[in-house]
C-alpha cells in the first residue's frame, strides 16, 4: 500500500468516525460528559493548583465547560487535545493572562496554594511573578541577552542598582551578573551565549530564543511555569533540548505544558489531561495510564489517531 492511499483511507475513516461519534454524543451525551471517574487522579500531598468548575466564555462562545482539576507540585502536567479544544485558554486562565482579552469572561475558581486567584483584590503582579509563562513563539525583547534576563527583576526592584551606575546606565552589579548566569545555566543556554551577553537577543536562533524566554521567566523565581506549545515553532534538535530542559526544571518547578504533540507529552510529562472539542476536560490521569489504557473511548480514538 502506498503512502498516499493510506492517508486517504485514514482520512475517510476519520470522517465517518466523526459522523458516528457526533450522533453518539447527541444520543448518549450523559455518559460521555459526566463520567467524573475518568478525571480522578490521586497523588500524595496537596495540589499546588486546584481548579474548580471553571467556565470560560469569549462573548457567547462557551470555550471551557466545568473544568475541575488538581495539579501536583514539582511535576510536569501535559495538556493535550485537538486544535480549538480550549487547552491554551485553560493555561492562560492559570495566571490570568485572559484578563488581557476584552471579550473573555471567567467563572469558577483557581486556587493557587489554597488562595483563589480570581478573588477580588488579587495582586496580578505578584501572581504572575509566581506563575510564569512561556509562549508558543519565542518572544524575546529587542534588547541584549543580559537585559532580557534581568528585565523583570530590575522592574521589580530585586536588583539594587546604585544611583551612580543607574545614572551612567552601564555598570552591572555583581548580583545581577550572578542572577543572569544562574538563569541562563538553568535554561541550558549559558555555554552558548557566554561572552556575548551584550549582543541583541534577536540574533539568536529560534531554539536559543525560546530557552532565553525560559531563562527570562526563571529570573523572577516562579513556582509554576506555564508553557504554551513551547516547541511547536522549533526544529527537532531544538525541541529535544527544550524537552530535556523541561524534565530538569520539573525537579524545582511545577511545569504545566500545552502540546499538540502526543509523543512529546508521553515523553516528558508525569500526568496528562486530555481536552476534547467543545472545551471539555475528558480524562486526566497518570501519563502512562492515559496513553496505554485510556478510560474514555473518545480519548482512545484521539490518541490512536482515529479522531481529532
Amino acid at each position: 500500500m502506498t503512502e498516499s492511499s493510506m492517508n486517504t483511507t485514514t482520512a475517510d475513516r476519520t470522517e465517518s468516525d466523526g459522523a458516528t461519534s457526533s450522533t453518539e454524543t447527541t444520543t448518549g451525551e450523559s455518559d460521555e460528559r459526566t463520567n467524573a471517574a475518568w478525571r480522578e487522579y490521586s497523588f500524595a500531598g496537596d495540589p499546588v493548583l486546584s481548579v474548580a468548575d471553571l467556565n470560560v466564555w469569549y462573548d457567547d462562545d462557551h470555550a471551557l465547560k466545568d473544568i475541575s482539576i488538581d495539579i501536583p507540585e514539582k511535576s510536569v502536567t501535559a495538556l493535550i487535545g485537538p486544535s480549538g479544544c480550549g487547552k491554551s485558554t485553560f493555561l492562560r486562565c492559570l495566571n490570568r493572562m485572559n484578563d488581557r482579552i476584552k471579550s473573555c469572561r471567567v467563572e469558577g475558581s483557581v486556587a493557587f496554594n489554597g488562595q483563589d486567584i480570581y478573588a477580588d483584590g488579587t495582586n496580578l503582579v505578584e501572581l504572575r511573578k509566581r506563575i510564569g509563562m512561556v509562549f508558543q513563539h519565542p518572544n524575546p525583547f529587542p534588547k541584549s541577552i543580559r537585559d532580557n534576563v534581568a528585565y523583570a527583576p530590575r522592574k521589580h526592584g530585586d536588583l539594587d542598582r546604585g544611583l551612580v551606575p543607574r545614572l551612567l546606565g552601564r555598570e552591572e552589579t555583581e548580583k545581577e551578573n550572578e542572577l543572569v548566569e544562574r538563569c541562563l545555566r538553568d535554561a541550558a543556554l549559558w555555554s552558548e551565549v557566554e561572552g556575548r551577553l551584550d549582543d541583541n537577543a534577536l540574533g539568536l536562533s529560534g531554539g536559543q530564543q525560546q530557552r532565553l524566554c525560559i531563562a527570562r521567566c526563571l529570573a523572577v523565581d516562579p513556582e509554576i511555569i506555564l508553557m504554551d506549545e513551547p516547541a511547536s515553532a522549533l526544529d527537532p534538535i531544538a525541541t529535544a533540548k527544550i524537552e530535556d530542559l523541561i524534565e530538569d526544571l520539573a525537579e524545582e518547578y511545577t511545569v504545566v505544558i500545552v502540546t499538540h504533540n502526543m509523543q512529546q507529552a508521553a515523553r516528558i510529562s508525569d500526568q496528562t489531561a486530555v481536552f476534547l472539542t467543545g472545551g471539555e476536560l475528558v480524562e486526566y490521569g497518570d501519563t502512562d495510564q492515559v496513553f496505554e489504557n485510556p478510560r474514555s473511548q473518545r480519548v482512545e480514538d484521539y490518541i490512536t489517531g482515529k479522531f481529532g
Binding site: 495566571n95 493572562m97 488581557r100 476584552k102 496580578l124 503582579v125 505578584e126 501572581l127 504572575r128 511573578k129 510564569g132 509563562m133 509562549f135 513563539h137 518572544n139 524575546p140 525583547f141 529587542p142 534588547k143 528585565y151 523583570a152 522592574k155 521589580h156 552601564r170 549582543d199 541583541n200 534577536l202 540574533g203 524566554c213 527570562r216 521567566c217 523572577v220
Partner: protein
C-alpha cells in the same frame, strides 16, 4: 515552440538579435538622459557638436531609434529570429497606443492641417484603429511597430525642421507659449521611454520575461528622472548660493587638517573602501569612497606643505591661513564625533591584575577630576585657577600625555615580537578614549574662558581659526554687509523650541491613544482630527497664534509664540507617526512583559517606546523639514526686524532670581519674548525688497537654510540609526 522553451531554460547569452536589442535600449537611455539634461539646461539645443547643431544630432538619433525599434519587431515576426512572444501585447499596451495616437493625430489634424475642433473627431478613429491593430497582432509586432512608427514620426518632424528650437506653439485653449526648446526634449524623452521599453522587451525575446524586463526599464528611467529632479534642485541652489556664502571665508590650515582627518577616519571606519572585495553596486560605492579618501589625503598633504612653507592659499574667495593651532569649536565637534566612534569599539576593560586595576582607577580619577573642574567652569562661566595656574589645562594636558604615552607603549609592544605587553596596560580603545576626553576638556575650557592654550606651534585657539563672515555676522541692511547669523540662530531656536514642546506631548498622546484608550468612536475622532490638523494651512496656525497666543505672552510677536505655533504644527505629524509606530510594536512583547508581572506603565516605558522610537524620530524628521522652512506663520507671530543686528540671546537671557516667597526661584528669559528673525523670514524680506543686486544674498540665505534643515535631518537620521542599532544589533 517546444524548442523555444528549451532554449529559454538556459540562456546562451547574446545572440546578435539580443545584442541589437540591447543597443536600442542603450540608445533610448542616452536619448532620455540627453533630453533630461536639455530640460535642466545642462545641454543647449542651440549648441554645436563639431559643425552640426545639437538639434540635428537629436533629430537623427530619434529617427535611428525609431528605425531600430521597428527592425526589432520585423526581425522577430518575419526575420526568422526565434522569440517567444504572446499572442497579443495586452490591453494595457493597446490603451497606451490608442491614447498616444489619438493625441498625435488630433494635434496634427487640428493644428498642422488646420481643421480645428473637427480634427479631434478625425483623431478618434485613428487612435481606436491603432489600438485595435496593436491588440490584434502578435506581441512582437504590437509592442514594437506602433511605438516605432511614433518615434519615426517624431524623428521625421525634427529632421525636416517642422519643429526647431526656435519654433513656438500657442494653443488656443490656454494662454501660454510653448517653445521648441521644451517640446523637443519632451518628445525625445517620450521616444526614449517607448524605444527603451520595446527594446528591453525584445532583448528577453518578448513573453513574460520580456515584459518584466520592459517594466523594469520603465521604472528605472522614471526613478532616474525623480532623482535627477532632486539633485538638480540642490545643485541649482548650491551653484547660486555658494559664492556669496563662502565670501571672505578664512580658515586656519590646522583646523582644516583636523576636519579632513576626521572625515578620513569616518570614511574608512563606516564606508567601504575596498573595491576588490565587493560586487555590483557596492563596488561602485567602494570606488567612490576610495577616490574620496585619496582626495582627502592629497588635500591634506597640500595643506601640510603650506604650513611647512608658511604661505596662505586663497581661491574662490576662500583663504586658508598657515596656522597650525586649531579652533576650540571645531575641536569640540571633532572630539565628540570621535568619542562616539570609539564607543562602538570600546569593549569594557576589566583588568585582571592588581596593577591593572590601579592603572584603571588612576585613569578614572584623572578624567573624574577633569570633569569636576570643567563642571565648575561651566557653572561659573569663568576660568578656574589656583595661584595663577589654570587647573583645567594643566589637568587635561597631564591626563592627555599619560594616555598618549600608554597608547604609544601599547603600539610599540604590539609591533615588536620580543616584547610582550604588560598585563596592566589598558587596551587601545580605552587610552584613546581617555586622550580624547582630555582633548575635549581642553577645547571646552578654551571655548568657555576665551584664553587660548598654545604650546609652541600647536594649540587650541578661542577665535581666529575660522572667520566666516556670511554665517558669523549680522546683516547691516541691504547693500552694506551680507550676513545671516541672527536669522540662522532664530531658526535654530524656534525649531528646537517647537520640537521640545511638541514631541513629548505627541508621544504622550500616542501612548494614551494606543495603549490605554480602547478602540472607540473617540479614538477614531481623534485620528480624523489629527489628520485634519496636519493638513491645515500654516497661515491659519499663524493667525491663531497672533490672535490667541501673542496677547497672552507679552503682547508682541516673539520667539516663544513662534515656537508654540510651529510646535502646534508639528504635533499632529509626530502624533500620527508615533501612533503608527506603537501600533506596529508586536503584542507579543506586551504579553511577554505582562506574563513576567511587569506593570503596564513599565512595559510602555521599557519595551514599547524604545521599539517605537525609530518611527517617532521619522515623524520628527519629516515635521522639522516642514516647520524649519515655514514662512507664513512667522510673518504674523515672529515679525521681527528684517535684518536684526544682533542674535537672540536665548542662552544669556536666562535670569534666575531667588526669593523668600514660593516658588522661591524665578526663572525668566526676556529674550524669548522678543521679536526676532528667521531664515525663511529674512529670505522673504530680501526677495520682496525688490533690489536686483541682492539676488545673490537671497541665494546665500537659501543655501544656509538648506544647510540648517539638512543638519537637523542628519541629526535625526543619526539618532534613528542609534535606536535601530539598539533594537537589532
Amino acid at each position: 515552440m517546444s524548442d523555444a522553451y528549451h532554449s529559454q531554460l538556459v540562456n546562451d547569452g547574446g545572440t546578435t538579435y539580443e545584442r541589437f536589442a540591447m543597443a536600442v535600449v542603450a540608445g533610448a537611455f542616452a536619448a532620455f538622459v540627453l533630453a533630461a539634461g536639455t530640460l535642466f539646461g545642462w545641454v543647449s539645443l542651440g549648441g554645436h557638436v563639431g559643425n552640426v547643431p545639437v538639434a540635428n544630432v537629436v533629430a537623427v538619433g530619434v529617427l535611428a531609434l525609431g528605425a531600430g525599434t521597428g527592425t526589432l519587431g520585423v526581425l522577430s515576426r518575419w526575420g526568422g529570429v526565434r522569440t517567444t512572444p504572446d499572442r497579443s501585447p495586452g490591453l494595457g499596451v493597446g490603451i497606451v497606443q490608442t491614447g498616444l495616437w489619438l493625441v498625435t493625430a488630433g494635434l496634427i489634424a487640428s493644428h498642422t492641417l488646420g481643421l480645428g475642433g473637427v480634427g479631434w473627431l478625425v483623431a478618434v478613429p485613428v487612435g481606436v484603429f491603432v489600438g485595435y491593430l496593436t491588440i490584434g497582432t502578435r506581441e512582437d509586432v504590437g509592442a514594437t511597430l506602433p511605438a516605432a512608427a511614433f518615434i519615426c514620426l517624431v524623428g521625421a518632424v525634427l529632421v525636416t525642421g517642422l519643429i526647431t528650437p526656435a519654433w513656438t506653439w500657442e494653443p488656443e485653449a490656454f494662454d501660454a507659449t510653448i517653445p521648441g526648446t521644451i517640446v523637443i526634449p519632451l518628445l525625445t524623452m517620450l521616444s526614449g521611454l517607448l524605444a527603451g521599453w520595446a527594446g528591453a522587451s525584445a532583448s528577453e525575446r518578448f513573453g513574460t520575461r520580456g515584459r518584466q524586463n520592459g517594466a523594469f526599464l520603465l521604472i528605472a528611467l522614471v526613478v532616474l528622472l525623480v532623482l535627477s529632479v532632486l539633485v538638480f534642485l540642490l545643485v541649482f541652489v548650491f551653484e547660486r548660493g555658494i559664492a556669496v556664502v563662502l565670501e571672505n571665508l578664512t580658515v586656519g590650515a590646522g583646523t582644516v587638517l583636523l576636519l579632513l582627518g576626521t572625515a578620513l577616519v569616518l570614511l574608512v571606519k563606516f564606508g567601504n573602501v575596498r573595491p576588490a572585495t565587493s560586487d555590483s553596486t557596492d563596488k561602485i560605492a567602494a570606488f567612490v569612497n576610495l577616490a574620496g579618501a585619496i582626495v582627502i589625503a592629497l588635500v591634506g598633504s597640500v595643506l601640510a606643505y603650506t604650513i611647512g612653507v608658511n604661505r596662505a592659499i586663497s581661491g574662490y574667495a576662500v583663504t586658508i591661513e598657515p596656522i597650525t593651532a586649531i579652533g576650540a569649536i571645531p575641536g569640540l565637534v571633532v572630539g565628540i564625533v570621535l568619542v562616539g566612534v570609539l564607543r562602538q569599539s570600546d569593549a569594557t576593560w576589566v583588568p585582571a591584575t592588581e596593577a591593572g586595576r590601579r592603572v584603571s582607577q588612576g585613569l578614572r580619577l584623572g578624567t573624574g577630576l577633569l570633569a569636576g573642574a570643567l563642571f565648575l567652569e561651566v557653572v561659573t562661566w569663568s576660568e578656574l585657577a589656583v595661584a595663577g595656574v589654570a587647573i583645567v589645562p594643566t589637568l587635561a594636558i597631564a591626563v592627555g600625555v599619560i594616555a598618549v604615552g600608554l597608547l604609544l607603549v601599547n603600539r610599540v609592544a604590539s609591533l615588536s615580537d620580543t616584547l610582550t605587553s604588560p598585563t596592566w596596560l589598558p587596551p587601545l580603545s580605552r587610552t584613546a578614549t581617555v586622550a580624547l576626553w582630555a582633548f575635549l576638556g581642553l577645547c571646552l575650557h578654551v571655548a568657555i574662558t576665551g584664553y587660548p592654550v598654545v604650546l609652541g606651534p600647536v594649540g587650541i585657539l578661542a577665535s581666529g581659526s575660522v572667520d566666516w563672515p556670511f554665517v558669523m555676522n549680522p546683516s547691516q541692511g541691504l547693500g552694506i554687509q551680507k550676513g545671516v547669523m541672527p536669522a540662522m540662530l532664530g531658526t535654530i531656536w524656534i525649531v528646537l523650541g517647537a520640537v521640545a514642546f511638541a514631541v513629548p506631548l505627541a508621544v504622550g498622546a500616542a501612548v494614551y491613544l494606543t495603549e490605554y484608550a480602547e478602540d472607540s468612536a473617540f479614538t477614531r475622532a481623534v485620528d480624523v482630527a489629527t489628520n485634519g490638523l496636519w493638513s491645515t494651512p500654516s497661515i491659519v496656525f499663524g493667525l491663531f497664534g497672533l490672535a490667541f497666543l501673542v496677547p497672552r505672552f507679552g503682547g508682541n510677536p516673539s520667539i516663544f509664540a513662534a515656537q508654540l505655533v510651529l510646535g502646534f504644527m508639528l504635533l499632529p505629524l509626530v502624533l500620527i507617526t508615533s501612533r503608527e509606530a506603537m501600533k506596529s510594536v508586536p503584542d507579543e512583547y506586551r504579553d511577554a512583559s505582562a506574563a513576567l508581572g511587569v506593570s503596564k506603565w513599565d512595559t510602555i516605558r521599557s519595551v514599547v517606546i524604545p521599539a517605537a522610537m525609530p518611527g517617532v524620530i521619522t515623524g520628527v524628521i519629516l515635521g522639522v523639514g516642514r516647520i524649519a522652512g515655514e514662512t507664513a506663520p512667522l510673518l504674523l507671530v515672529l515679525n521681527g526686524p528684517n535684518f536684526p543686528n544682533s542674535a537672540p540671546g536665548v542662552i544669556s537671557g536666562f535670569t534666575v532670581d531667588f526669593g523668600l516667597q514660593p516658588p522661591f526661584v524665578h526663572v525668566s528669559n526676556p529674550a524669548l519674548l522678543e521679536r526676532a528673525s528667521a531664515l525663511p523670514y529674512q529670505l522673504y524680506a530680501i526677495i520682496t525688497a525688490g533690489v536686483g543686486a541682492e539676488e545673490s544674498f537671497g541665494w546665500g540665505t537659501t543655501l544656509v537654510l538648506l544647510g540648517v534643515v539638512l543638519a537637523f535631518f542628519a541629526m535625526g537620521i543619526a539618532s534613528r540609526r542609534y535606536f535601530r542599532r539598539k533594537l537589532h544589533q
